[in-house]
Symmetry: C2
């Protein structure tokens, strides 16, 4: 009989708790082989500090409510295990040994794959048999060897609908008010979520007019020329910008020296920085949207495929463990695009750890500020939701009325 | 036979196009008395510049898609008519006369009530019979003589769900990451929308911990003490702040030099300003959410009562005109809170123009950073949505699972 533990790590997603619920449900179904189901509070920190809860007997109603909940139901952490920190590994070992836990499921992104992989040290240091299974999640969609990361589709939907709604509002206001709207989007090194802003874009006039990806070096002069072009042609300009765009020297553009009215240094804020650049250089009135945590906690808008994938990896992780597999992560292999079909495959944790998958070149238009049709076709199945509140087309795009 | 014209003005709402569609539908039903239905592009500017479209024969399918569309389907404007600008009134008169339009419906907020009221000058200057009906809309909810303004309920829902989702995310992250999340909310002088962040708050630990309303003078030291208190007690602190909070001298805390066409100061950036204040004074890591246009274009989350009210005022406006009434606005009189029942009454435009209804004292907790039960009871019916995607309680609050 196996005792298992589950933990969540890194930035949360709108559907990570679907993975948790699915994993618990699957483990409960195998009560002939799994005895106790535990969860660590705040990821690896709960294992280090022995903050563990017994979740063996959560009811189906509890599990449904867990699926209904954004954030990480057991708490998350940002904590990097060091290779040689023996004392830390010893603490984890004591926690595991006390409850006779022989299997860890670690639900996270790249850093978390690294953590799960390092947990195999426990076996090495203490001759303690331990199954380590990573489970993918990240709104950044930057894990290698998987077609998509659970969590990304819902955040992509949030960004797509937010871009559509805000730019439609702007279009009705630009004549006497704001001319430029900038949306600052998460994803420091990979532009997947920023690209999602453009999933439904068909014509040049569709928003966002300019999509600034971290994979493309930011050129200030070219950018201002583009803003001017769109403002002159359509009356307004809409911009999606990744928080992580870099200049020609590879430095983050958002490294502000500006000072606020308290005399304090202005933090972060690539969106507001571009807004100031435009206002000062072109005298256009700008608005800046910073969804921040909203784009990764938008459970109310979670898409069906995302919920399905989040559950699938949670279920498969338990199956792997029961099959005696270790140091792997269930990943998604696409079999068909439309309708989206996939199978779950296992990938070694050591291959995944700390690798970030960026947008490939063929997903970025040669002009540097749009995504390609290939990229849109990749993104479309993830933002589909037939139960969405608004009338929509076959791509899940709400259909708006337009007077020429 | 009457020719009528409809126009939209000021900042848009998630449901203003429901008002438009309902007005057109009602006018079409009275084709025995109404001949042509026109719309002015960009509000009063379309009347001045003679940019008018004939919408008499819009199909039911068109009207459904119009209801599906955020922003203002005919374009809006921020433009203040002057009392004595004869040439402008003359231009409007020529537009009206050319198409024999004898009835104007102007859909807007306080400024727009002023505009509709001033249009009666046309009658005075040119001896031209004209019915002027204002129709209410504003996410600010600051029109007097009405229980609620169409547009506000959906934006309130957006703010309430955004506060809940983002603070639940923060709760799972604060141990090793961000300690404070600030959400900057629209509402220049009235705190209705900021108050909506707290509609479901029951206990001190529920978010937002601190609700900063424009009706309450901002006290920097007291604020920092509060942030410290919540951070120490719960590990994190969540803050809803109105863009328009003022200091003890009555000046906006977020000071910016840009001004809109009404001479209103362009606000923005109070969120990041408070974020910097906290980071510098208390060394807590902060995140700042700026929903900006998203909170007024969130048609995907429009609430049933808001859609119903938006349609009701559009319909009633036509009925008033057919009854020969003029210089009035249909307003909402509450008859019952739960379930919400109302009737439509008419109020003279001259009474409404340029008056802003603020949060009454009994809606603000004496501590200055929370709203009262009366205020929550007022707000609750507006955020209800039985078709919402998540499990929810009787108040429309999604039910989340929580350990301990």
């Amino acid at each position: 009989m196996l005792n298992i533990i589950y933990a969540q790590s890194g930035g949360m997603t709108p559907v990570i708790n679907n993975t948790a619920a699915s994993l618990i449900r699957t483990a409960q179904k195998h009560s002939d082989r799994i005895n106790k189901i535990y969860a660590a509070k705040n990821g690896i920190i709960g294992l280090i500090e022995n903050r563990i809860i017994d979740i063996t007997n959560l009811s189906e109603k509890d599990l449904s409510l867990i699926e209904n909940t954004p954030g990480g139901i057991f708490g998350s952490c940002r904590y990097k295990l060091k290779e040689d920190d023996y004392e830390i590994y010893e603490k984890i070992y004591h926690t595991l040994k006390e409850k006779n836990i022989k299997c860890i499921f670690y639900n996270g992104g790249n850093d978390s794959a690294d953590t799960s992989n390092k947990l195999s040290k426990i076996k090495e240091y203490f001759d303690y048999d331990l199954i380590c299974i990573g489970i993918p999640k990240t709104i950044d969609n930057d894990l290698p060897f998987t077609d998509v990361c659970p969590g990304f589709p819902s955040s992509a939907k949030y960004i797509a609908i937010s871009m559509l709604e805000s730019s439609t509002d702007l279009k009705s206001m630009y004549l006497t008010s704001t001319n430029v709207v900038i949306m600052e989007i998460m994803g420091r090194h990979a532009g997947w979520l920023t690209a999602a802003s453009s999933v439904w874009k068909k014509k040049e006039k569709d928003s966002p007019h300019i999509c600034l990806l971290p994979e493309v070096k930011f050129d200030k002069d070219k950018f201002l020329e583009l803003v001017k072009y769109f403002k002159n042609k359509y009356g307004y300009c809409t911009i999606a910008v990744s928080e992580g765009i870099k200049d020609s020297n590879g430095n983050f553009v958002a490294n502000s020296k500006s000072v606020d009215s308290f005399g304090h240094k202005q933090l972060g804020g690539i969106g507001f920085q571009l807004s100031n650049l435009i206002t000062n250089s072109l005298k256009y009135k700008c608005h800046c949207i910073v969804p921040d945590y909203l784009q990764r906690s938008c459970t109310h808008i979670a898409t069906p495929i995302d919920i399905e994938l989040a559950k699938a990896v949670g279920e498969k992780a338990v199956i792997y463990a029961l099959d005696g597999k270790t140091n792997i992560m269930p990943m998604i292999k696409k079999i068909n695009t439309n309708p989206y079909k996939y199978e779950i495959i296992d990938i070694e944790l050591s291959k995944i750890a700390n690798i970030e998958k960026k947008l490939p070149n063929n997903y970025i238009n040669k002009n540097g500020y749009e995504i390609t049709t290939e990229c849109k076709n990749y993104l479309k199945p993830f933002v589909l939701d037939n139960n969405f509140s608004l009338y929509q087309d076959d791509d899940g795009k709400p259909i708006y009325f337009e007077f020429d």
